[in-house]
Every structure is written in C-alpha cells, then in structure tokens.
Symmetry: D2
Subunit: 356 residues, 4 copies
C-alpha cells in the first residue's frame, strides 16, 4: 500500500511555473496549501486586486514558512509566462482573461463556473450575465478526471467542476452508465460545510448564524442544478428528471451527498461500483453496509462512496463524501494539472486525511 | 399576538403531582427544564438507580435555583401517589412498571418506544426483546396531538412519539390525508443533532468524533422506520413504500427532515398545509419559498414546515424542523400531559426559541 | 424554590410602552426574545434604518408568533411616547438621540458604550470620536445592579455594562470591596463566544474562520479595558493595575472570565463571596471546588461564580460565567428596566438555562 | 523557502522498523497518519488488546489506502524486532514493558507520562500508582527537542512531553533562561480542544456536553502541573511559583496557552524570542502585536508564539499555540525519533496546516 503513495518522479523534477488569479478566497489558500509542497511546481504569482503588496502568509498564517510570495496586482503579474494559471475568482472573471492567456500558450484551469455549462443561454440564465466567450466554452473540457481523463490530457482550458457536482456525479455515474435506474426520478439530497460559501463577509455565514444550525437553501433552484443535470444527462444519454436539495450544515469542510434512484433491473450494485472505480486513485468504494464520514476525507482529494439498497426494496441509496475544498475544488484542479502535464495523477495529492 | 402566549389558568392553579422515572438523560433534564416552571405542576419525584441520593442540580447545573430535588431510588419513590408519571428511560423499562401505575390510577407517558408500535412481532424484531405487556400496547394512545388529540384527552397511557417520527409524520400528514401523492415511493432524508443519541458515554458521540463531521447511519434499518411506516400507512389507509435515511450532524439539538414524494394530482400545496395546521399552536407553516432553520425552534415545542415544488416538477419537497428534545421528546410529552388534564395545550410551553 | 420564580405582579399588569432603537443586531433580537413575553411590557416600536418596513419575524424566525411588529424608520417611530427606550445600536448613536428622549420624560437604557466611561477624554480616545453630550455622561448611572441598585431605581439614563465588564467586575467585586488582594496586579483572562462580535458581516466572524479555532485578540488594548479599570478602581478606592486578555472561542454565546489576584490577607473566600451575593437573584456562587460551565447559563440572566485557591498558594482564581447576550447585554438591560420601574427584579427573566 | 520543506534523504532511504503499542487512541491514529507516509519508516506492528484482528483502517477510515495493518495482540507482536517502539497507551503501561524492549536494543518513546517526572514520589502521588521502574526514569530523556536535543540524540528511552507542558514550556523558556521575569508568580491560563481527553467514552467529552460550552477544570490540581513545574524550575535554576488553570474549549484539536509573568528587567522581548528560536524549525515566533490562532497549526508540528507587553506595563503576556495531537503528542514523538536516528529533524513532518 505504501507504494500507492510514493511521489512519482516522472518529470524528473521539472518545475511548472504556476500562477493563481484571485488568491484570497478559500479555493486560493487551498491551492497554495497543495502547490507549495508539490514537487513539480514553482509558484510564480498570486494576484489580488484588493490585497496587492501584502504577504500571502500574513493573510493565511498556516502558510508561514511555506509561501513567501506577496499578492500581486493582476495588472502587473506576468501571468503570460506561466505554464498554467488557475482562476480562483468569482464567476465571470475567468471568461474575461482566459483568451489572452491561451493565446500566449498558457494552460488554464477555471475553478469558477465560467466554462462548465455548454448551453450558453442556460449559463446566462443561472449566472445572470452575458458570456464573454461562448466559443471557448465549446472547447473547454469539463475537468472530472474519472469521466474525462483522456480529453483533459490534451486540454488547453479545463472547467473545474463544482463541489456538489463532483460528489453527485461520482455517485450516480456507475448507475447511469450501466443503465440500471429510472432516470426520470433522481434525487440528490446534499449537505455542505460553510466554507462552500467562500470567504465572503456575509451574515448567513457567520459563526453565530450557522453554528448549531441546519437548514436547506436554494430548494427552488441552485446554480449547481444545471451543471449536474447536464452531466447526468450525458451519462444517461438523455434528459434526466433530477431534484436537487442542498443544505447547510455546521462543518468547516465537507460535502455529503445522499442520492436516491429506483432500480430498473436487478444488479450487483457493490460489484458495479467497485468495478467502475477499480483504477481510480481518488474514488474509494467502501465495503457493503458502511457509511462514509466527511471527516474521513478531510484535507484529502478522495471521494468515498457507499452503496445501499435498504430493506431489500428497489430504491438505491448512494452515500458520497468529499472535502469540498479539495476534491470539490483545489485538489481536483491540481489533479487536472497533473493530468494535463503528464505527471503521476496523485503527485502532491497524497495528504493523509486529518482525523480526528 | 401576545394573547397567544398568555398562561392559561383553566385549572385555577391546581397542581399536578408529577414523577419522572429515569431523570439522568437528556429527555429527563429537558422534562425538568419545562416542568419546573410549569404553573400546574409540582415535581414530586425523580428517580435514578445509579445516582440516587445526589442532587439533581449537581448533575444539571442549569437547574440550580429551579429544582431542589435529589434523585430517588426507584424502589423508594412513591410514584403511585403521582397524578402522572413520565418514563424517560431506555426502551424496555416502562413496559415493566406501567401496569402497576395504571392500576393505581396514575396516568403514564412513556417517552421511550415500548408502546409505540401496535404490531408486537414487529416491535420485538426491531427492539430485540419480548414485550412484557402486549395488551397495554393495544390500549396505549400514540401521542401525536396533531393526529390523535381526542384520544389523548382520555388516555391513561400515552406512547410519546420518537423524534424522527414526529418531524416526518407532521411533514407527510397533509399530503397523505389528502391523498395527493404516490404512496409507493416516499423518502425521508433526515438529519439529527447528537443529543438524539442520548447522554450515554459512547465513542461515536464524542465531540472529537462528531464535531466537524457528517455521516449517514442505520441506512439498512433504523428503529424509527417501523414507527414511521405504521404512522404513514395509517394516514394513507394502506401500506406505504417508505425509504428512511437518518444522518448525524454536528448540532447539539435539532432535527431537519427533508421529505420527497411524487404528486399525483395538481394541488395548492401551500393552502393544503396552512389549512391542515390552521389551529395547531405547535405547527407553523412557513411562507412559500422559505427554508426553516433548526435554530428557529431551539428550546421550543414548535415544528416549522415549508413546502416546495422545485422547478415546477411533480416532486414535492417538504422541509420540517423540530427540536428533538422538545417537540421530539419532552415538550411533546408535556403537551400530551396538558391535553390529558384539560389544561390549555400550551401551558408551560411558551418558551421563545433561542436565536442565535 | 419554585416560589423564587413566580411572576411578580407588583404592577398589577401595568404595561410599559417599550421602544427599541436598532433592532437588527443580536442584542436587539435578544431584547425582543425577553420582552415579548414580559408580563409588564408592550412592545411599541422597533427601529431600523436599513430594514424599515420588513417584519421583525422574517429576520428572526424564532420570534414568529411572538412579535408581529415591523421595523420602523427611526424618523417615523414615535419613541417619545414610550416609557422606556433601549438603544441596541452601535457606539455613538445613543449619544445623539438620548437628550431629546429624556426631555420628553422617556427613560433610556443604552446597551452600547456611550455613557459607560466617566472620563470623557478616555472615552474619546478609545472610541475614536468626540462625545456629543458629556453632561449626560455625568448623570448616567452605570447599570450593574449588584453594584448600583439604589442609583438605578431613580435613574433616567442607564449605561448598560459591556459583556466582559459584567463578568469581570462581578468576579473581582467581593475581593476588592473587602480589600484582601494586591490591587496592583489583577489579571482577567477572558473568553467570549462569537456572538459578542455582533451580527455584522465580517470575515473573522465567519463560521469557517472561527469554528474549530481559538485565539486571543486585542491584547494590546480592548475597549472594555478602560471600562473595567474604572469599575475596579472604584471598588478598590484607588487605581488598580489591570491586565486584560480577551480570547475568541467557538461558542455562539457565553463568556468565561478567569481572574487572578494575589491574596494579601488570609480570608475565607467562599464565605466572602456567598455573603456578598446572598441576596442577589442573578449571581450564583457555586460550591467550593467546582467549575462553572458557560452552558449552565445559556439563555439566562444568571452569572455563576466559583472561587479557587489552587495548591494552597496565595493566588486566588475566580471563574465567572455569563451569557454575553443576556446578563452581558439584553437581560441586564431588562433587569435595569425592572428596577427603574419598581417591578420585581426577576420579572420576565426566569428563563431556565438551556442544557444541553 | 521551499528548500525548507524538501524531504531530507540523509539515510538514503533506510527504513526503520516501527512498532506502536496501543494504536486505538488519538495519539495512535495520529502516529499512523504521520508515519504511514514517512519516507524512512516501515510500520511493523500496531497492538491493541481489545481490537486485535481487526483492520486499522476499519477503525480509522482516513487511513484506508495508507495503512493495511491489522491490530495485533500485544502478546503476539514481535516488538523486539523493531528499531523503535512508541507507547500510545494509558499511563502505567509503558513502565511495565519498556525494560524488556530496551534490553533487546529497541529504542522507546513513551507518549504517556510514565517517564516524565524525575521525582518518583511526586509521580506516584499525582498518578496514583507505584512506579515499576524508577531507575529507568532516571535515565529517560525528556523529549522536548528545543530544550534537550543533544541528549535526545543518544537516548534509548524518551519521555515525550505532555501537550500542555509543551505549549507552556516553549512559551516561558526564553524568559526563564534569560532570567528576566519574577519566577515566584508565573501563570498559565491554558485552553485545550476535546481530543486532549482522548478517545475514551466519557460523558463529559460527548458532543452534546462539550459543544457550545466552555469551562475550566482541574483548577485544584492537574497532572500536568508537576511536569510543567519541574521543567520551569529547571529553566529558572530554582523552584518557581506557578499557577496552572486548564480549560476545555470546543475545538477538536488545539491548545492555546496564555502566559503571564512580571518583567524584572527591561528587555527587548521580541528579539529575545526570535533569537532563542532562530534555528528551530518547529517554533515560529510571530511578528510583534499579532495573535496566533490554533488553526494556523492544525495538523502540523509547529508551535507559534507571540509576545506582548500590554499597555507598556511590566506584565509580559505570551501566546503559544500547538496542535495537541501533533507538537503536543505524535508529531513531537516523530521529531524525537528523527533526532534519535540522525534523520533530518523535519522528515515526514512537513504537513502544511489545514486552514480553514
């Protein structure tokens, strides 16, 4: 087993020049946590309009001793000299700056939603703005490695999936690919930690508002709904009926997706999942009858999945957990980078989850 | 509005003699919190085998100044002199002692599960013991006031519902009574705070195990499943297909039930729920489009419910929250006591929820 | 004991007209929680510039069914018709509006800091603004009932103490009044829940920033330092040497003050404290050798104190806990109101603490 | 900076055979987290009397894919073939088994308290048992590398310090070594996360007991008091007067020590601390005026310290934070192992702290 986690040296210590646009949010600091000890990465620039000039480690003291960069004004960062640039920005920023970077030969991974949804009008409806570069959307690769690994290898522009979409799609994928459930009535009851709302000063994310409290939100419609629907429909080769109910739970990190579907043909579900993910380093199918905990993936890029068929009925219940900031954001982005640059896929990602 | 909460004096300060068997758990301390300032109650005895002789307020310092009783050995407590006795004991205790109390004219409310399930073999299967008094099960009244108020009024023995069953049944009740959903595929995805596991020293309930962590449990089968199935089937006048997935969430108190059903006829759901609960003091139907928070009922006997039909599909999503220790246990028990003794139903129960 | 908590009817149901300025913060909602079921209060107006016109219970759903007021624009609220007005506003607001209210015969309790510090230049230095009405500062009564009850009875303007100052002063008071400790070296190591920072959208108060985290802050100087120093010096009849180190701890509510002083004469400390607070309903001196928990006062106006002299040395350690929003803010304000209007001091304040 | 964190290869991939006695507690799982990816370690045996035969990763699912050992019965584990054995057992176990291991040439690090206190009668008083091997206590080295590095290099038996003692001693050490404070009146007000109580099923460590709650404990006397007193007295070359007040705070991990001392000669405290720890990889002296957060060391072996002299008085306030399970236990044990085997001291310990 230990061999699983040896650092691969395929690139013989080649260092990629890496830039991060928008380094002051949680996906930013998480990218830094992973990249600052990644053996094939040289952190070149981290931009922030508001905090230009201040030391990154002053804002994020966990990085003291690991990151000695200061935030750079985006206008002054020579991002064109990077091998790869990550956008850890709010929605609508990456689409403004990506073309110029691509033209300079820089590869781009967008951790926001600008390139995730292929249907431009759907995107514009849910995100409330006009898209700046519909043609790039067409060429962007949706960065879910377990689904799109081959395309990611040669991608210039990767749309890194959302956190809920990662947990939900990895949970439904084996069922939909195998065609064994009723696709007209899929339910995802999902629970997210508060860091999913980002490092924005908003009342509902205050400790005194969200601690010792549990609630659903966005039941009428959440931006991850069209992203997941697109993905599930692709897997099912046809439009799915999908109900998505997100909840806020007092975790710092973690997503737990509980998925419901009706089985249409008898199937050895455990074998189906184990076989589908047999060669996936970052998807762990748990033994039958078990329940994954979010903390079992805390700080790690792993998605753990358990499969249930309670009381012998035809209802399948899938439990899928990720760390929203890692497999649901920064870790998956690094996984995509590793694939794009032909590094061992787990390079820099073998952080043992922190428990307790 | 203030008139809603005035203390009713129907009994002109008549004081009921109240005993509690098993006062050292969370339902015990919660009964004490409510009863010690209940205007029609005189706390007579609180029993505990293990802590007999020690002051209640030493174990529960919140009660200093309010409760000056000491725990009594059950053998020495003159429970037969009480008007009413609450069992806040583990399953299997109340069924041993109830007949003797009933024979002495004492009314009994069991907060455990001994009298909740009418089918004895089902009960014995799920609870792993033989039932000591099947005949009393037959005569016991299931203490969900919004369903069984009339029967409770004259009941000698009330089976106080479980916490999950309260939240789930109140959420499904209007739909099932109106016959507007497909009863073959009902789903309850429920989330409970850790106090639901009781004040028992168990590793999985430790702070360092359950804080910053979220997981499902008992997906293969949870003891509240047959209780809820029985209730829903009664409401639906026929066996329902019901999937129940409980989760543990890092709250001290609170249950959030997210319920899914398929609509079989077009219905004004908001009107249906508002009408069903129009006269219920302890069920609050929220405005359309809103999301109840568990903290909005913290410490209170209220169940808040919101009704959704996301994206205009035929899937109904009901959000139902309670405080598991109040409406899900001790508060509902007091509500039942008030009904049994012809007190105003909200007597002693108008505690404003604590937020934040 | 139950007699302790009976509602006093001294005013024979006279209802005071009560206004609240700035009802959208945590001290505001907490005032509402207590006042909406206070038997001698009629809530008349709650103002908010930003939220005028919206229902109070929409912002604070715990108040549904208890408060049906809407927020009023301050300019349109007829506060002059109130018997008493509470300012639950940021610092610097009350001093602008108090004179006009006093002139109309309205009594005022300011929950902010405008009238707490007698030395105007000290106040102006720590609060960074010019004081609008130094003469009113002189006539304001510092509203710590256990210290100033007689003056509060006739006060027109009460400066409600800060949260830390309440816990610290109640802890040191018996020692200083008795003159048994070295006043040149007093230390208060204090810990506060996050609600103490208010319901303001600030990054450091986010759940993902303050959960599972502990830190000191403001060690160089905190605004409560001069307030406490003033109080301790008054008690000691001379300038004290005082070190104040506040910490942020992941509680919603609660302050724990750990106080250190050096004993200068042998004293029965337990007797000293019990005697000093023998007649105080809201100060509870715990038995020797015990440790108060913040949750033992959650939601309640009680301050619990324990006295230690570890290892028989001459170092006194006092442990003092309050709920920062109740005895540290809204509850103490209501206690002051009760005193000002000759109501039983505990009227409306006998909320049993919520544990767990 | 990145050079700081390169894995040192001094041993050219020599693998140490490592055994762990008592692997089912939090220090056990934490040792496993660090050792399973340590480049010079081969995990050989993990013992547990109660769980022998079950897979380690079944109990600690974070280790799935990293540790494939099963728990071994202590009687059957060939610990004598190890290069080093860690005791992660309750107090009183290591002293029974250490001699046999030492005699076989195995080096031993005890994470419990058996060898920490040199005065046997003091140890026996605080730990309530007779010591099994006083002679080994004399030869054991107290494993605080920043104090005892040279002795650790050649030690056969290391007494790994307690969590509080680590944070407190590192905070006071520069002051005492420099002789600039009054040693007769030192105060440590310390706060610990709940994992410090271990993975034992006890009521006071339940989530519902310790969440949203803060309290002091053991003020009359805590077992870490004599350990710290011994250390401080050694540093001060004479008996110190020391008051120690521990508190429980709702963190999973983390210790925050707030230390108070009176300065006896004018000193540039910032320079003193920076100079003392200039060459220490795992002590980080923060810039003047800052406040370390426990989360800034979460999962990491670093101790961060800030120095204050509030209001220009002669009172020094030191803030010192560690992760109790890492620098306060398992990480420091690995640091000691690295020193004992002449590995780069940070080998396997460059885990970037997890924030948020």
């Amino acid at each position: 087993m230990l061999s699983d986690v040896c650092y691969d040296d395929g690139m013989e210590n080649k260092k990629l020049k890496v830039g991060i646009v928008g380094g002051t949010g949680y996906t930013g600091v998480e990218l830094l946590r992973l990249l600052c000890v990644h053996p094939n990465v040289e952190l070149t620039a981290i931009t922030s309009r508001g905090d230009a000039g201040s030391a990154v480690a002053d804002m994020f003291p966990n990085l003291r001793g690991y990151v000695n960069l200061v935030f750079t004004d985006p206008a002054k960062a020579n991002l064109g000299e990077c091998d790869i640039v990550f956008f850890a920005t709010p929605n609508g920023i990456a689409m403004q700056q990506t073309r110029e970077l691509l033209d300079k030969g820089v590869r781009v991974v967008d951790l926001a939603a600008d390139f995730r949804i292929k249907d431009i009008s759907t995107w514009e409806k849910w995100y409330g703005m006009s898209h700046a570069c519909p043609d790039l959307v067409a060429s962007a690769v949706y960065g879910l490695p377990e689904l799109n690994r081959e395309a990611i290898k040669t991608a210039r522009l990767v749309a890194n999936p959302g956190c809920y979409p990662t947990a939900v799609q990895l949970g439904f994928m084996p069922l939909l690919e195998a065609g064994v459930v009723d696709t007209s009535y899929l339910i995802a009851d999902t629970k997210s930690g508060v860091s999913g709302a980002g490092r924005k000063a908003e009342v509902h994310s205050l400790f005194a508002e969200s601690a010792d409290n549990f609630k659903a939100y966005g039941v009428a419609g959440h931006r991850h709904l069209p992203e997941i629907s697109q993905g599930l429909s692709n897997m099912a080769n046809g439009q799915v009926g999908f109900t998505f109910v997100p909840h806020l739970t007092p975790l710092i990190r973690g997503i737990h997706a509980t998925l419901y579907a009706k089985l249409t043909k008898e199937t050895d579900l455990q074998a189906l999942f184990e076989s589908r993910y047999a060669n996936e380093r970052f998807v762990d199918v748990l033994p039958k009858g078990t329940h994954p905990e979010t903390r079992s993936v805390r700080g790690s890029n792993i998605c753990r999945i358990a499969v249930h068929q309670p009381q012998g009925s035809d209802v399948v219940v899938i439990l899928s957990v990720i760390d929203n900031l890692v497999k649901g954001a920064a870790g998956q982005a690094v996984q995509n980078m590793n694939i794009m640059f032909n590094l061992a896929e787990n390079t820099g990602l073998e952080v043992v989850p922190l428990l307790p």
